[in-house]
C-alpha cells in the first residue's frame, strides 16, 4: 500500500474517533446532572473536536483532492466513517458516558505518548498537544468511575451495567489489519498490541479503586474500522450533518 494512502486512512480513523466522540459529549450540553459537568463535557468535546479538525485538515492535504476539513467531516456517507464502534455508542446514563470516555482516553494517552516520535512530523505535532489535553480527561472520568463504582447501591449497579455493555467494544482499539500493519511498519503509529497491556493496567488501577471487576469472558464487537456501524450511527450523522446537507456549502 502506498505510504500516503496508509497515512490518509490512519488520519481518517483517528479523526472520526475524535469527531464522533466529541459530538456524543456535546449532546450532554445543557442536560448534565450539575453545572460543573455541563462545563466539563463540552470542554472535553472541544478538545476532541479541535484534535479532529487538525487531523481532518491534514488528511485533506495528504489526499490532495481539494477536500477541506469540513468536506471530509460532514459530507461522507455512513460506511465512509471509520470510527470505533465504542465512540458512537449512545450516552445512555452518566456512568456509560464517563466509562466510554475513560476507555478511549486511556488508550489515546498511550497512543499519543508514542506518536510524538512518529515518522510523520505533523502527526507528531498533533500528538504533542493532544497528549497533554487527554491527561485531564482521564483524571476527570477516572474520578467519576471511582465515585460511582464505589458509591451508592444504584450508582454501583449503573457503573457495572455500563462495563458490561461497553467492555466488548474495547477490543477494536487494538485490532490489526493491513492499514495498521503498514502504518506500524512505516513507524507512523505505535503497534496497538504494545499499547494493550498499558491500557489494561491503566483501566485496572481505576477499576480496583472503584471496586469493579474487569470482564474477561465476553464476545468482542467490532466493525467501525471497516465502515460497518450500529443503528445509532445513522441518527448521529443525521444530526451532525444536518446543516451541510440542508444548506450545502454553508459557512459561518
Amino acid at each position: 500500500m502506498a505510504h500516503d494512502k496508509v497515512l490518509f486512512e490512519i488520519l481518517i480513523r483517528l479523526a472520526d474517533d475524535h469527531l464522533v466522540l466529541g459530538h456524543r459529549l456535546s449532546e450532554w450540553c445543557g442536560h448534565a446532572p450539575m453545572l460543573e459537568e455541563d462545563l466539563s463535557m463540552p470542554n472535553m468535546a472541544l478538545d476532541l473536536i479541535g484534535q479532529a479538525r487538525s487531523l481532518y485538515a491534514y488528511a485533506g492535504e495528504i489526499e490532495n483532492r481539494g477536500r477541506d476539513e469540513d468536506a471530509i467531516a460532514y459530507l461522507r456517507t455512513e460506511p465512509e466513517y471509520k470510527n470505533l464502534l465504542l465512540v458512537e455508542k449512545p450516552n445512555e446514563d452518566f456512568a456509560h458516558t464517563m466509562l466510554r470516555q475513560f476507555y478511549f482516553a486511556v488508550f489515546m494517552e498511550e497512543f499519543w505518548k508514542e506518536a510524538i516520535s512518529s515518522s510523520d512530523n505533523t502527526l507528531a505535532g498533533i500528538a504533542g498537544k493532544a497528549m497533554k489535553e487527554i491527561a485531564y480527561h482521564i483524571r476527570h472520568c477516572g474520578e467519576w468511575i471511582i465515585r460511582l463504582g464505589d458509591g451508592t447501591e444504584e450508582s454501583s449497579r449503573r457503573m457495572r451495567a455500563a462495563v458490561e455493555v461497553l467492555h466488548p467494544y474495547t477490543d477494536e482499539m487494538f485490532d490489526h489489519d493491513d492499514v495498521v500493519a503498514a502504518a506500524v511498519s512505516a513507524e507512523i503509529i505505535p503497534d496497538p498490541l504494545l499499547l494493550r497491556p498499558r491500557w489494561e493496567q491503566g483501566v485496572q488501577t481505576v477499576f480496583k479503586a472503584a471496586k469493579i471487576t474487569m470482564p474477561n469472558d465476553y464476545w468482542a464487537l467490532r466493525g467501525g474500522r471497516a465502515g460497518q456501524h450500529g443503528e445509532e450511527m445513522g441518527f448521529l450523522l443525521a444530526d451532525l450533518q444536518y446543516m451541510q446537507r440542508t444548506y450545502p456549502g454553508m459557512t459561518w
Partner: protein, 169 residues
C-alpha cells in the same frame, strides 16, 4: 550561509512585535498574547511582509481565530502588510507564560499555573493551588473544567471565595 538581517529591518520587526504583543487575550483581557506565550515570533520577510507566528493554547481553543484576527488587525492598522502563521509544534505549554503574565493573572483573580507542566499526572495527581485572593493554601478543586478549557474551578477554604485556576499543560 544566511546573511544577518539589516539593522533597520531588525528594528522594524521589533516595533511590529511591540504592536502585536499588546493584543489582549479575548477570554482573559488582563493578559496579552505575549504574556501568555502564544505570540511566538514577529519577523519581516524578504518581501517586507510582517509574519506573526501564533500558537493555540488548546487544540479546540475557540479563541485562537479571534486572536489571530486581532493581531492581524493591530498590525494592519499600524500600516504593515501582514501574514499570520499558526504553529502547533512544539506544543504550547503553560511554562511559556511570562512572570509578568503570571503576576497579571493573579491580580485578575486567576491562580497562575504551577510550574513544570511535564509533571502533570493523569491519575490521582493533585496540585497544590494557592488562593489568588488571600494566598491561603487551603483550597479544594470544585471542577476540573472551568469556564474555558484552560481553567479549572477551585474554592478557597479560608476566605470561602471561588476562583479560577489556570491549568498546567
Amino acid at each position: 550561509m544566511v546573511e544577518a538581517p539589516a539593522p533597520d529591518k531588525l528594528q522594524a520587526s521589533k516595533e511590529a512585535w511591540k504592536i502585536a504583543a499588546q493584543v489582549p487575550d479575548p477570554e482573559i483581557p488582563a493578559v496579552n498574547v505575549s504574556d501568555l506565550g502564544i505570540l511566538r515570533s514577529v519577523e519581516i520577510d524578504e518581501n517586507g511582509i510582517v509574519v506573526a507566528k501564533v500558537t493555540p493554547t488548546y487544540s479546540g481553543c475557540p479563541a485562537v481565530l479571534a486572536i489571530e484576527l486581532a493581531i492581524e488587525a493591530a498590525l494592519l492598522k499600524a500600516g504593515y502588510k501582514v501574514r499570520i502563521e499558526r504553529v502547533t509544534s512544539p506544543a504550547w505549554t503553560t511554562d511559556w507564560i511570562t512572570d509578568d503574565g503570571r503576576r497579571k493573572l493573579k491580580e485578575y483573580g486567576i491562580a497562575p499555573p504551577e510550574r513544570a507542566s511535564g509533571s502533570v499526572r493523569s491519575l490521582f495527581g493533585e496540585t497544590q493551588v494557592s488562593c489568588p485572593q488571600c494566598g491561603s493554601a487551603e483550597t479544594i478543586r470544585i471542577s476540573e473544567f472551568g469556564s474555558t478549557a484552560c481553567k479549572a474551578l477551585y474554592r478557597c477554604e479560608t476566605c470561602r471565595e471561588p476562583f479560577d485556576y489556570f491549568k498546567c499543560i
